[in-house]
């Protein structure tokens, strides 16, 4: 399968290179749907310029990237386009390999279940053949690389691509069974933006399932492994945070990055639900609703883990989707990551009832975002309500599609 994958990578790189060289690149990097105050390239350049001027990038409110990004881009800022294209390639290859591993596991389980006659007669049509499963990893990589959202995100040089790469590598390491690497990468992903914290539970469940440790709170083997994994995770997180302290010599980055993600002070419009809500919020209730909205992202973890403990990979997908919809500064790059997983369950598509309606809603909203933005900001003939309405509809469409896909269980 190396040849089709290479071909796909070449096609993807070509499309991105063409767009980088055209006049669209500047236009795309200004779009609020593609970049947010957390991951805009303009702010990375600004942070590096501030560092050159001798001012700490975190003394102002422009730069909200972690010190790891400063360190990385200090060296490769001149080759930024290549870095982002390579990142997309890494993500695609990681997804490809992880879905391949997942499919092998699924097929093996199916074979054992079939041999032990555990499937009722009317389910036989749902069984998958090796032939259909052969092309799924390639479809996943294609869904990621050729997704317009990913291409836009790459051309805008949004650091969301880097975050996606780290999460994809984490998924790969988890599925391959390496707890150490998985813990380190999860710590890195959490360090970049806090929300991947919720992926700890599905990764833990996967490892427990793989090592045949039953998920029982009274068993010591369960606790033993959990503590090991937690130790790797928390330890790497502490080490990475400590290294960041030594880069700039101060803890300024913590309120600037994590405080910013949690307290949402910047109300720049984006495709999420937070901005207009907090722009129109009564001051008295602001803290209450911030807490409500942030808890909303995290609190589905435990119930979903209990319900989906036999399907940890599906749980990872659900968690990534929940993060993308309900995080404080979502962009289309986050949406692209969970959309890439859809071909993995393509045999269950016939059970999606309203798929046409939902996909039409999502397509229409994606087309209307730039139109209504232009009408509000440049033409002056619409106002912020138009853009907010499309935001609402887009998120509603995403929630509904997630609802449909959750029927797979």
């Amino acid at each position: 399968m190396a040849a089709p994958l290479t071909l796909l990578l070449i096609v993807a790189v070509t499309i991105r290179a063409v767009l980088f060289r055209s006049s669209w690149a500047e236009l795309i990097s200004e779009r609020v749907e593609v970049v947010s105050p957390l991951n805009a390239w303009k702010r990375v350049v600004e942070g590096l310029a501030l560092l050159d001027l001798g001012v700490s990038p975190y003394s102002g409110d422009v730069f909200h990237e972690t010190p790891f990004m400063i360190y990385l881009f200090h060296f490769v800022v001149d080759y930024a386009e290549i870095v982002f294209m390579v990142t997309d390639g890494i993500t695609a290859v990681a997804l490809y390999l992880s879905i391949q591993t997942y499919n092998k596991n699924v097929f093996r389980k199916q074979k054992y279940a079939l041999e032990s006659d555990r499937y009722p007669a009317d389910c036989l049509e749902l069984l998958r053949s090796p032939k259909e499963m052969f092309y799924i990893p390639l479809k996943v990589a294609m869904f990621y690389l050729l997704n317009p959202f990913t291409i836009l995100s790459c051309v805008a040089k949004s650091t969301c691509g880097l975050n996606n790469a780290i999460i994809a590598l984490f998924i790969l390491c988890t599925l391959k069974g390496s707890a150490l690497l998985s813990g380190i990468l999860l710590a890195l992903a959490t360090y970049q933006s806090i929300y991947p914290l919720t992926l700890f539970a599905p990764a833990l469940l996967f490892f427990l399932q793989r090592l045949y440790i039953p998920v029982n709170l009274r068993r010591s083997s369960f606790w033993f492994f959990t503590l090991q994994y937690a130790f790797i995770y928390v330890g790497s997180l502490v080490v990475i945070t400590g290294l960041s302290f030594f880069l700039l010599g101060s803890w300024d980055f913590i309120p600037s990055v994590y405080g910013f993600i949690f307290s949402v002070p910047d109300l720049t419009p984006n495709i999420g639900l937070f901005w207009y809500f907090f722009a129109e919020m009564f001051e008295h209730f602001r803290l209450f609703f911030i807490c409500v909205f942030q808890i909303n992202v995290f609190f589905y973890t435990i119930p979903l883990s209990i319900k989906l403990k036999e399907h940890p990979v599906f749980l990872i997908f659900m968690q990534i989707a929940i993060i993308s919809i309900f995080k404080s500064y979502p962009t289309v790059g986050d949406v692209a990551l969970y959309m890439a997983f859809l071909p993995a369950w393509s045999h269950l598509y016939r059970f999606l009832r309203n798929i046409f309606l939902v996909s039409c809603v999502l397509l229409a909203c994606s087309a209307l975002f730039p139109v209504l933005w232009h009408l509000w900001i440049y033409a002056g003939s619409a106002n912020s309500n138009f853009y907010y309405a499309i935001t609402l509809l887009f998120n509603f469409g995403q929630v509904k599609s997630l609802n449909l896909i959750s029927h797979f269980t």
Partner: protein, 562 residues
């Protein structure tokens, strides 16, 4: 050459005696006290011939327009003065004009004393002139014609003073427009194609405070002893341009600004083509460019005035670009001056431009620019560019303190070296933030104010100053302490800026909370459903008829139906 000489002489003898005529054109520009500018064109054609000599029919017209020549001979006109004016000449504000004229049309004519029916000639003359100048002079008839006995004596030669041969009429209602200017321009030898007449474009001429065009024909003496006579045709155009409609209210004029054209060549048929600029009043107050060494003096309206003269028949007047644009610039130039404006469109991004002018002719000096921009305009310091004379000028000291949202504004201080006689532009890009609805001012679409930038500098002084403190100094000169002898401290404030920010809809807080919470609730509801729904196999309930039948059977005590 020797063999061809008889042929040349023969050919020369064959050509009839050419009418000897001469054409001169001139333009006088005079800045008036009120700041307006007065431009007066005069085109003079001198023709050494006598129309009224019996037996000699003039048929060869060269520079003198044929239509007017025929009018003169047919109606036996000795002097003809016709003028069309738009606007009223304000003597109190502008002084005296070179050629006076009343508003509307004015026509006065001296006929020859050989004319028997003056009224008949007058009537036909007005109709013919009406056709030549496309004006409604045919409204001149006996009801508005007079014969002044003392006022309008002949301006040219002629000793007849019988006022029966004079006719005078005005049409104050006559409006002057392009249709009158075009035939007037056609009477000129070069038309409006070369020479000073290229400046006469109607869109600028009629956009003025006063505009007057006239034709004056009279016989004059050619020399002191009056041995030969000639006909003189003078076409004059006077126009006063308004200071304020020219924009900016600055007392800066140029030929291009006045006429939207520049001069490219003199009329080839003109024997002299000159531009005079009156520099008698306050020669230090404005400067002329290009400079000219030629100066002339003339006594005009009882006053001796000095003029700078530009000779258009000399090629060097036009310079390398072959275009002559006269510029009058106000000499008041402060040494240090700054402006600021916002560039860009839309409510997302923008650019702040600060322009600093150093008007010292040869000294460069450093200035300290301080900018304090509110936190809701997020400055991007990596887009800061400083250019002087279209080259990059890196500041030697930059102090930048970025803003913290809702805590403190941006502070940018730079030390920039300004090259002499130059303009330095500092640009920086910014993004506009969306604020919380309570943070907007009561009229949010008015915009938000950004305070002035401050430019502080030690400007080189023309005069040495005393650094020791004396009691006798007046208050206005002792505000800033003088530390150095050769420079003084100056602080220049730029304009404040008014910037629009995107606004949310202020009537919507409750609606927004409800709608957003609805979407979150839909998500929550679907997850709750997913997590807590269990599937059970449901026995289908028996239909109503069967249940009734079973009830009856139970009463009867008979076995039930399944």
């Amino acid at each position: 050459l020797d063999s061809r000489l008889p042929l040349v002489i023969f050919l020369h003898a064959l050509t009839p005696a050419a009418a000897r005529d001469e054409f001169q054109e001139e333009l006088v520009i005079r800045p008036l006290h009120s700041g307006d500018i007065y431009a007066s064109f005069q085109f003079r054609t001198l023709w050494d011939t006598d129309f009224l000599q019996e037996g000699q029919k003039v048929s060869h017209y060269r520079l003198f327009p044929k239509s007017l020549g025929q009018v003169l001979s047919k109606f036996s006109v000795r002097e003809l003065h016709i003028s069309f004016s738009q606007g009223f000449w304000r003597t109190m504000q502008w002084g005296q004009p070179f050629i006076p004229s009343p508003p509307g049309a004015e026509l006065w004519v001296w006929f020859h004393d050989t004319v028997s029916d003056v009224d008949g000639n007058w009537k036909e003359l007005t109709n013919v002139l009406s056709g030549i100048f496309c004006a409604s002079l045919n409204f001149i008839d006996l009801t508005n014609t007079v014969q002044p006995s003392a006022s309008f004596k002949p301006l040219g030669l002629g000793n007849a003073t019988d006022h029966r041969f004079l006719r005078y009429a005005t049409l104050p209602r006559e409006i002057v427009c392009t249709e009158n200017l075009t035939p007037w321009k056609k009477l000129l030898p070069c038309g409006s194609k070369a020479g000073l007449a290229v400046l006469m474009k109607s869109e600028k001429l009629f956009h003025s405070s006063f505009h007057s065009q006239a034709v004056h024909i009279r016989p004059i003496c050619q020399d002191e002893q009056c041995s030969s006579k000639a006909w003189e045709l003078r076409q004059t155009l006077n126009v006063v341009f308004d200071l304020h409609t020219s924009g900016q209210g600055k007392k800066e004029w140029s030929l291009f600004k006045m006429f939207s054209r520049t001069l490219t060549e003199a009329c080839p048929l003109a024997s002299s083509s000159k531009v005079y600029v009156d520099i008698t009043d306050n020669p230090e107050l404005f400067e002329l460019s290009p400079a000219t060494p030629l100066l002339g003096q003339a006594v005009v309206l009882g006053d001796r005035r000095t003029y700078s003269v530009y000779d258009l028949s000399r090629a060097e007047t036009f310079g390398q670009l072959r275009s002559f644009n006269l510029l009058l610039r106000d000499m008041l130039r402060p040494l240090l001056h700054a402006e600021r404006y916002v560039a860009g469109f839309g409510l997302q991004t923008g650019e702040i431009h600060t322009v600093i002018y150093n008007n010292h002719p040869y000294r460069a000096f450093p200035v300290l620019l301080m900018d304090s921009v509110p936190w809701y305009l997020q400055l991007y310091i990596h887009t800061l560019t400083v250019t002087s004379k279209s080259r990059d000028n890196k500041p030697s000291y930059i102090h930048y303190q970025p803003a913290k949202d809702r805590h403190r504004p941006h502070l940018l201080e730079m030390l920039i070296q300004l090259p002499p006689h130059s303009m330095t532009e500092v640009t920086v890009q910014f993004e506009r933030a969306l604020l919380k609805w309570t943070e907007y001012t009561p009229d949010p679409n008015h915009g938000f104010y950004v305070g002035s930038s401050v430019v502080s500098a030690l400007v080189p002084s023309m005069v040495a100053m005393r650094t020791n403190f004396t009691q006798d100094q007046p208050l206005f000169s002792s505000f800033v302490p003088v530390k150095e002898e050769s420079s003084y401290f100056v602080r220049v404030y730029t304009e404040p800026l008014l910037v629009n920010l995107p606004t949310p809809d202020f009537s919507m807080p409750y609606n927004v909370i409800c709608l957003t919470c609805t979407v979150v609730a839909v998500g929550y509801g679907s997850f709750y459903n997913l997590l807590t729904r269990t599937f059970q196999v449901d026995e289908p309930s028996p239909p109503l008829s069967k249940r009734l039948a079973n009830l009856i059977r139970r009463i009867r005590g008979v076995p039930l139906l399944t």
